[in-house]
């Protein structure tokens, strides 16, 4: 199982029945593939639909039904079209139960940076700032380190996405819960040692008892 699948499988376990969930593009979007059997979720595409479904059958694509990445999607029965004001009203107004986003850095405060690298990459924040500021739960789903360089750091050096403590960090190595006291290491992936994680993490990690083995289903 590769790193991304492992992350997506673990995040999928956080998805609760009947909730409204927004998955970021890229890795976070994989989460939809691993939902526990029978769990009924409303996926929001912030560009305009609640009840986002899978890819359409070949030849059935509609140019007016895409996800936030611009890819063709379907809408499930019972879906609702929403304009951008309603879409971000749901996000900002506390109606979105959970968002899953990628990360460039997360720090000991639990603050996330994921939208720009000054001088290199200025794509714009899109909906990320509203999502992190507004969602009830923010889960960062990211590969633990960037070619060996830690992404979980004492304090973000990249511009923040929001001055808000995210709810959970899920990587292929571990699960970390940011708390008022700092970053608590909750789970280690099977076969991964504490030392290994510490070696790829520049932030301090707090242990509250033994980390459990990261479940994948």
């Amino acid at each position: 199982m590769d790193a991304k699948e492992r992350i997506a499988r673990r995040v999928a376990l956080e998805v609760e029945e009947g909730t409204l969930v927004n998955l970021g593009i890229g890795l976070p979007s994989l989460v939809a593939n691993y939902l526990p059997e029978g769990v009924n979720v409303h996926f929001q595409a912030e560009n305009g639909v609640i009840g986002l479904g899978a890819r359409p059958p070949e030849g059935m694509e509609d140019r007016d039904l895409t996800d936030a990445g611009g890819g063709f999607v379907t809408a499930v029965p019972g879906a609702a079209s929403i304009d951008s004001a309603m879409s971000f009203g749901l996000i900002r107004g506390g109606h979105l139960d959970m968002t899953v986003l990628g990360g460039l850095q997360v720090d000991e405060r639990g603050y996330l940076a994921n939208w720009m690298v000054p001088g290199k990459m200025v794509p714009g924040m899109g909906g990320a700032m509203d999502l992190v500021a507004g969602a009830k739960r923010v889960i960062v789903a990211m590969v633990h380190a960037a070619k060996g360089a830690p992404k979980i750091v004492p304090e973000c050096t990249l511009p923040l996405t929001a001055a808000r403590r995210v709810s959970l960090i899920v990587t292929e190595l571990c699960v970390i819960e940011p708390t008022a006291a700092g970053l608590v290491l909750r789970e280690l992936a099977e076969g991964v040692s504490l030392e290994e994680v510490r070696g790829l993490t520049s932030a301090s990690l707090i242990l509250e008892g033994e980390p459990r083995v990261m479940p994948l289903a």
């Binding site: 079209s81 304009d83 794509p123 909906g127 990320a128 700032m129």
Partner: protein, 217 residues
Amino acid sequence: MKHAITPARAAEMIPDGASLLIGGFMGVGTPHRLIDALVAVGRRDLTVIANDTAKPGIGIGRLIAAGCVARVVASHIGLNPETQAGMISGAIEVELVPQGTLVERIRAGGVGLGGVLTATGVGTPVEEGKDKLEIDGTVYLLERPIRADFALIAARQCDYVGNLEYTLTAHNFNPVMALAGKTVIAEPDHILPIGAIPPDAVKTPGVLVDHILERKP
């Protein structure tokens, strides 16, 4: 009752230097024929306010590639390297705005509010140069309303009054932008007789629409 105009006639109305609200999200729900007409007449020095600048060759990406645009206000330019190159070279002035803030700023302009008070962007580079207000214990940015000389609106269909209907993820910024253009030009796929769109289905009342583009060929 209105009369349909050609894309060329619409482009004539829009002078060099005009500010344009343009509906769409990565080219979905974008008034493509109006954009092509602006490119064809070689407009210059336009300000484009839109969620994104799509990709090269698509929607607003065509305006960028043709050198029509001097200024962009958008939430995301990451999928258009030409906009990014223009930003870096200084050929295009770019203001990046969180997506939920962008749509509310346009709505505030359209419905006559003095600004938007949002927590999105607090503690990030977005707050630079802006007033902050603490209200009942939470800090908000005061974001300014946006209006523009023209709003270019893509709709699924309209009637002779100008009442507009949108579909699925092609709603996005269109219904809000239709409130905030001094002159509103709608580009419908279909034009129907009065009465064919029932009152409850109307999402933009025809009184907001100044001109209707002829139906899709």
